[in-house]
């Protein structure tokens, strides 16, 4: 199967990846070839077969609902590109926002 340029744009947008034009061309060809190969899965009759989401026996893991110390906030903010007042600081989310924060 061949992915269209529009599909590549759509997938990149869903994945929040800004790609160059050259990357879009490259991935269009490479992903089309991989999807052609993957298409052989449709040969397999899986009508009565349940999906495997985990190989482990399904079980619910519980722990006591008690407050435990978490990692110190300054430690976690140390890796952030921008932080203020114990928070991660980012540019405006909505158009027209004058201040970051």
């Amino acid at each position: 199967m061949s992915l269209s340029r529009e599909e590549i744009d759509h997938i990149a947008a869903l994945a929040r990846l800004r790609l160059t034009e050259a990357e879009k061309d490259l991935y269009r060809g490479q992903l089309s070839a991989v999807l052609d190969y993957i298409a052989k899965l449709s040969e397999v009759d899986t009508t009565p077969i349940p999906p495997t989401a985990t190989v482990l026996p399904l079980r619910t893991v519980l722990r006591p609902d008690v407050v435990r110390p978490s990692l110190p906030v300054p430690e976690l903010l140390r890796n952030a590109p921008d932080a203020a007042d114990d928070m991660f600081r980012v540019p405006p989310v909505l158009d027209g926002g004058a201040e970051g924060g």
Binding site: A15, R18, E23, T52, V55, N79, F88, P91
Partner: protein
């Protein structure tokens, strides 16, 4: 004998006997890293000062007398997808180039608790995605047997470091073959643990239903010792199983009564003849030790590559959503937050990571989910059933690790599908969540190592280690040393 030529167990014995100090042993490894690693690029970070401090503390603890932990003073190294508090942890990616881990992974902490000295962090394919370590943002690692060839991947730095005597053992991770295949390419022992056997807390996630942590070392006994230290339940990983860790001692070289499955689907057209010959000879050798080879069929083997390359990228596309320039890593500047996300990710992820995020996003997207991801999960069930049925008839399965020996750097990196097919024999066990061991079993005409893959049922590590140990102790392949 130089100190770096000791096996892990030999070194531990000599440390216990007081024949040398951990400081001497650690300094010998740091010296060798400084001399040899500029040619290999196995280490991304060398923690020399901390290592020497840990070694001195280990020596002091031993001098103080009393009970000592099993790895006291033993220098090891860690794949750079596992967090070590206060140390740069990059996952081989530019998106984490300045990330300093705020906590330590459970598997690493258990090595530290057992007294180990950590020499540093090892190169790997970016986010463990690859089969050659060429996808590292910090340059490829080179194979100690031939510097023009890849060490395998994604734990290529781990395998190269152990083969080149830069560390007595290492931790790697295996999602689709990333411990076993580099072990095979570099002529060392590598254990892929059962899914759920070793806590993944502190491992930078790639494919969460597949990721496992396992040791690489120069002998099976060394790998078994490391395995026994890192295995076991951890409440901080809900998928880690509360299964007891078996005793790993009292092994003999007698394999009488052992049924060895030989899957016909693992000997295919197009594989390198030297690999098939070496693996068949190894199976013959197991027979001389008393084992009975039994031909078996794992009929869904051919579907493992397409199943894996849907499930793992789908999980990766979700796991890697967190790398967005907000909480860690450098940020690409832009006026609006959405642009920050897209630019940071577009600029900082490497080609293969972007390719897998795209593939996984597509497989999970509206209209394609059932045909791709849903179908892959169902075929995964069939692959797992193949193994369940096989292990009703046999105790272990013996087969090749990879269809070829180490290939030349640059020969497959532009052809993703050719690279994915390298994983044809390691993916089915990963999808089934079972343990697999790679043990050196020969060389090709160019002197490049070949690995024998031994597979066991889930949580059957003891079985594959015992068989691997019997094979190794009655052959000499693991003694070969690359000339560097």
């Amino acid at each position: 004998m130089t100190l770096t030529d000791l096996t892990l167990q030999e070194a531990a014995t000599q440390l216990t006997a007081g024949a040398m100090s951990s400081r001497e042993l650690t300094a010998a490894h740091l010296d060798r890293i400084a001399t040899v690693d500029p040619r290999l690029n196995a280490f991304l970070t060398v923690t020399a000062e901390q290592a020497l401090a840990q070694a001195e503390a280990a020596d002091a603890q031993r001098m103080a007398g009393g009970e000592t932990p099993p790895l006291l003073g033993v220098p090891l190294a860690i794949k750079d997808v596992l967090c070590l508090q206060g140390t740069r942890t990059t996952a081989g990616s530019r998106i984490l180039e300045n990330f300093v881990a705020p906590y330590t992974a459970t598997a690493v902490q258990r090595l530290l608790d057992a007294g180990a000295v950590i020499l540093g962090k090892l190169n790997c394919d970016e986010f463990a995605m690859g089969s050659s370590t060429e996808n590292s943002a910090y340059g490829p690692t080179r194979n100690p047997w031939d510097l023009d060839r890849v060490p395998g991947g994604s734990s290529g730095g781990s395998a190269a470091a152990v083969a080149a005597r830069l560390a007595l053992g290492a931790l790697g991770t295996d999602t689709g073959g990333s411990v076993r295949q580099p072990a095979s390419f570099c002529g060392v022992v590598g254990l892929k643990t059962s899914y759920g056997r070793v806590s993944r807390y502190g491992l930078i996630a790639y494919g969460s239903s597949l990721d496992s942590i396992g040791p690489l070392a120069r002998t099976v006994a060394d790998a078994a010792l490391l395995f026994s230290q890192i295995a076991g339940h951890d409440p901080r990983d809900a998928t880690s199983m509360p299964a007891p860790v078996p005793a790993l001692s009292g092994w003999t070289e007698n394999l009488s009564g052992l049924r060895v499955g030989v899957p016909r689907e693992y000997f295919i057209d197009g594989m390198q003849p030297a690999v098939e010959q070496a693996v068949r000879a190894a199976i013959g050798h197991l027979q001389t030790l008393g084992a009975t080879p039994i031909e078996i069929s794992l009929p869904h083997t051919a579907y493992a590559v397409p199943v894996y390359y849907l499930i793992a990228p789908a999980e990766a596309s979700a796991n890697l959503a967190r790398f967005d320039g907000v909480r860690y890593g450098p940020r690409a500047e832009a006026d609006a937050l959405w642009d920050v996300f897209e630019k940071t990710r577009g600029e900082r992820f490497g080609a293969e990571v972007k390719r897998r995020i795209m593939l996984g996003t597509y497989a999970l997207s509206a209209g394609y989910y059932d045909a791709f991801y849903g179908q892959a999960q169902k075929v995964r069930t069939l692959i797992k059933r193949d193994f369940d049925q096989a292990f009703e008839k046999v105790d272990v399965i013996a087969c090749p690790v990879a269809p070829t020996t180490a290939f030349k750097i640059g020969t497959k990196v532009d052809d993703p599908l050719a690279m994915y097919l390298e994983d044809v024999f390691t993916l089915p066990p990963s999808l089934a969540g079972i343990p697999g061991l790679s043990v050196p079993c020969g060389n090709d005409a160019e002197g490049l190592p070949i690995g024998l893959q031994l597979l066991g049922p889930a949580f059957g590590e003891e079985r594959v280690l015992r068989v691997g140990h019997a094979y190794e102790q009655t052959t000499d392949w693991h003694r070969a040393t690359p000339a560097l």
